[in-house]
């Protein structure tokens, strides 16, 4: 096929032979969806995921453009490559959706999550928690004689690691924001 780069072997044979050998591989993708900030738009996006059986690992949403009434929804999802393509096409079909960016394929993206962790303990454990917080660059945002609340920002993996360390030291509660992400470089 001269005009388009259609894979060789597709000339006589079925597309099945061209199926992605990675069809069963589960991938994790971070999608940024720019939407009109109108009532129900989040329900529409979530309804799409639940209605069609897609996964949501993390979801954050906030208005990012007050004058243009636009919000940015960041979704971390997992699925086979074909499912990921389907998710993007289905999102693109929602009327108030302006753009769907797949930050995972559009090059490296910066992903950050903020978490608050309440850790209660006395003595050695309390000191150890503080020491580890320092290593993870977590800030103490509240403190009593028996407890701390730490604020940590970083990749979801970093937050996971910090939470795992805090667990034996008296982790009481954790609140996470979910992932916010931007692609690197000068373009939107």
């Amino acid at each position: 096929m001269a005009a388009l780069n259609i894979k060789k072997g597709s000339s006589r044979k079925s597309a099945y032979d061209l199926r992605d050998p990675n069809a069963d591989v589960i991938e994790r993708h971070t999608l940024a969806v720019i939407v009109d900030n109108e009532p129900g738009v989040l329900a529409r996006v979530i309804g799409l995921f639940s209605g069609r059986g897609y996964n949501i690992d993390s979801l954050t949403v906030a208005e990012v453009d007050h004058t243009g009434h636009q919000s940015r929804i960041t979704i971390v999802t997992t699925g086979t490559p074909a499912v990921i393509v389907q998710i993007k096409a289905q999102l693109g079909r929602i009327v108030p959706v302006h753009q769907v960016h797949d930050l995972t394929v559009e090059g490296f993206a910066v992903e950050r999550e903020l978490a608050l962790l309440k850790v209660a303990g006395l003595g050695e454990k309390r000191v150890e928690a503080l020491r580890l917080a320092d290593i993870f660059r977590a800030n103490v945002v509240d403190s009593t004689l028996q407890s701390f609340i730490f604020e940590i920002t970083g990749s979801p993996e970093k937050v996971d690691a910090f939470a795992d360390l805090m667990r034996p030291l008296g982790l009481v509660e954790i609140a996470r924001t979910g992932v916010a992400a931007l692609s690197r470089g000068g373009e939107a």
Partner: protein, 575 residues
């Protein structure tokens, strides 16, 4: 303001039913004569009627109903229109804004309930936004892949005064799906077409939705290339049934030659169809040797079910125009020798005569009833609607459609109760045409009250009931899958249909002797008013050919098959 917005959108008919939360709009309707209001008997009927209107005209159908139970009654129709890509605009009344959320009388979360069954919906909280929102609703319903939209209007918003915005001044929506296909991709398809030995066009409802121009281009393309063509249930009429390249419908109850050609082709050109499971049968052995190209306006339809080699995103009409132009400019090449052998093979499949059946002189076979209906009405200005079941499939097999927009059936959702109200909607749009609903005894009971609408508006619609006193399609599946245990698939205590029709003010007749059938059909056609013809047919007839679920195209059951327990293994869990 609502009525003004509808007028400015070119609306001439509204299907509806009044209630407390829409009285201000009904008051507006009372005080004007430009828009005709068709009072239905159930809100589901209003939506199906609007679908019939839309599908037979290409214009959006409009529905006006009240809040709460009226909105929930509309849900089936909305889902039907979403599945079959029918442009519908539904206006619902809502409790006043200050009462929303209080479980007020006849309050329902209409936008919440209808969010998954509309293409888009809006709750209007400000009268100044009302006209603009209605214009957006028309834009979204009719642009790209068509579908239903809904505007929920609280009663206080209806009463308040605000500024009217005409359609020209409405906000331009960013929702503008791409219409032109990528020229490189289209050229690649032309190259494939030039080489293909066993090509086939597989067309769907997208051709019809793209407008009459698309059907015209399709005809030109098929006739110029000499490629065989088949179509889904939704696409019937885009290419004429009398055309010699026509293989008939494909799919679960499609024709042998169509399904075999799909299975054995080396190039499949999908134009505005969506690889629905009724079409593909077993996915992993669907047309195993072919390259597949897919033209569709909806990116999410591409590579959803079947992986294709070449995708062309765009409106069928625009893409076909470019396709024809490029194919012609490159010298109108096809693989003549390959095609000749291909057609010879197809003729062999055709010779099987898969629609043949054992006729009877004593009892009317449903296939025979449809053959006679076809014979006695073909060439007329005729529109057909159907209900859902065996009769629907037989109608698709035995009736011929020469033009688009003449065949209205519930394909994606398979909604029993669609046909009668849809026939009303079609007749409203085409007052002088012959409109026939091919119905089953069970389906027609689901919206039978709509006969009353036909009588009120003097719609000369014809109800052609193939009465087998069974949920025939269910009975067939129980025979195939459940060892002939016919659980609840009898329709006992059926009404005396002609008497019931007469009680509504509609003429009725029953026919059961094959010798009287022609006379009965003629009486139905010639009668100047609504008519119900009950045809008592063979009760145990099965609909063939049939691809049992879980099987590929080349494992079709033909008419003489022993059907008992034909569905087994993995196929048993499929519907």
């Amino acid at each position: 303001m609502v009525v003004q917005a509808l007028k400015d959108q070119g609306v001439d008919t509204v299907f509806g039913y009044p209630g407390g939360a829409v009285l201000p709009i009904y008051d507006e309707i009372f005080q004007q004569n430009d828009i005709r209001h068709i009072l239905v008997r159930h809100e589901q009927g209003a939506v199906h009627a609007a679908e019939g209107y839309a599908r037979s005209t290409g214009k959006p159908g409009v529905v006006l109903v009240t809040s709460g139970p009226a909105a929930t009654n509309a849900v089936t129709g909305l889902t039907d229109a979403l599945m079959d890509s029918i442009p519908i605009v539904v206006l619902t009344g809502q409790v006043p804004t200050f009462m929303i959320g209080t479980d007020g009388f006849q309050e329902a979360d209409t936008v919440g309930i209808t969010r998954p069954c509309t293409k888009h919906n809006w709750l209007v909280k400000d009268t100044n936004m009302l006209a603009d929102t209605i214009h957006q609703a028309f834009h979204v319903a009719t642009t790209g892949r068509p579908g239903p939209t809904l505007v929920d209007i609280p009663k206080d918003v209806q009463f308040a005064t605000g500024t009217y915005i005409p359609p020209q001044k409405a906000r331009t929506s960013h929702y503008q799906p791409q219409k032109k296909g990528d020229i490189l991709a289209i050229t690649a398809l032309v190259e494939m077409m030039e080489e293909a030995e066993q090509p086939i066009f597989y067309t769907g409802g997208g051709v019809i939705n793209s407008g009459p121009g698309a059907s015209q281009l399709l005809r030109e393309l098929v006739d110029a290339t000499g490629f065989p063509i088949t179509s889904t249930l939704m696409g019937l009429g885009a290419y004429p049934a009398s055309g010699d390249k026509w293989l008939g419908m494909l799919g679960m109850h499609g024709l042998y030659e169509a399904n075999m050609a799909m299975h054995d082709c080396d190039l499949m050109i999908n134009i505005g169809a969506r690889f629905d499971d009724r079409i593909t049968g077993r996915i992993d052995s669907f047309s195993p040797g072919s390259k597949k190209a897919h033209i569709d306006i909806d990116a999410s339809s591409i590579n959803k079910v079947i992986h294709v080699d070449l995708a062309i995103l765009g409106d069928v009409g625009f893409v076909l125009e470019d396709l024809l132009r490029i194919w012609k400019s490159r010298g109108r090449k096809t693989n003549k020798e390959g095609l000749k052998a291909w057609w010879a093979q197809i003729e062999q499949w055709r010779a099987i005569d898969c629609l043949s059946y054992n006729n009877s002189e004593k009892i009317i076979k449903p296939q025979y009833a449809l053959q006679r209906l076809e014979e006695l009405t073909k060439g007329m200005d005729r529109y057909i609607t159907t209900e859902v079941g065996q009769h629907q499939m037989w109608a698709a097999q035995y009736l011929g459609f020469e033009d688009p927009n003449r065949w209205m059936t519930s394909g994606g959702l398979g909604t029993m109760g669609y046909g009668l109200p849809a026939s009303n909607g079609v007749q409203i749009a085409h007052p002088d045409a012959l409109v026939i609903n091919v119905a089953g005894d069970a389906s027609i009971m689901m919206n039978i009250q709509e006969i009353s609408t036909a009588v009120q508006f003097r719609l000369p619609v014809k109800q052609f009931i193939l009465n087998n006193e069974r949920l025939g399609m269910v009975r067939q599946w129980q025979q195939l899958l459940h060892g002939e245990r016919y659980s609840q698939s009898w329709t006992e205590s059926l009404p005396d249909f002609p008497k019931m029709a007469e009680a509504f003010g509609c003429k009725g007749r029953t026919v059961k002797d094959p010798a009287d059938l022609d006379d009965a059909i003629r009486e139905m056609i010639e009668y100047d008013g609504p008519f119900l013809l009950e045809v008592l047919v063979e009760k145990h007839e099965n609909c063939f050919p049939m691809i049992p679920s879980g099987e590929p195209h080349n494992k079709m059951l033909l008419g003489d098959a022993t059907a008992t327990d034909a569905i087994k293994g993995d196929g048993a869990v499929l519907v």
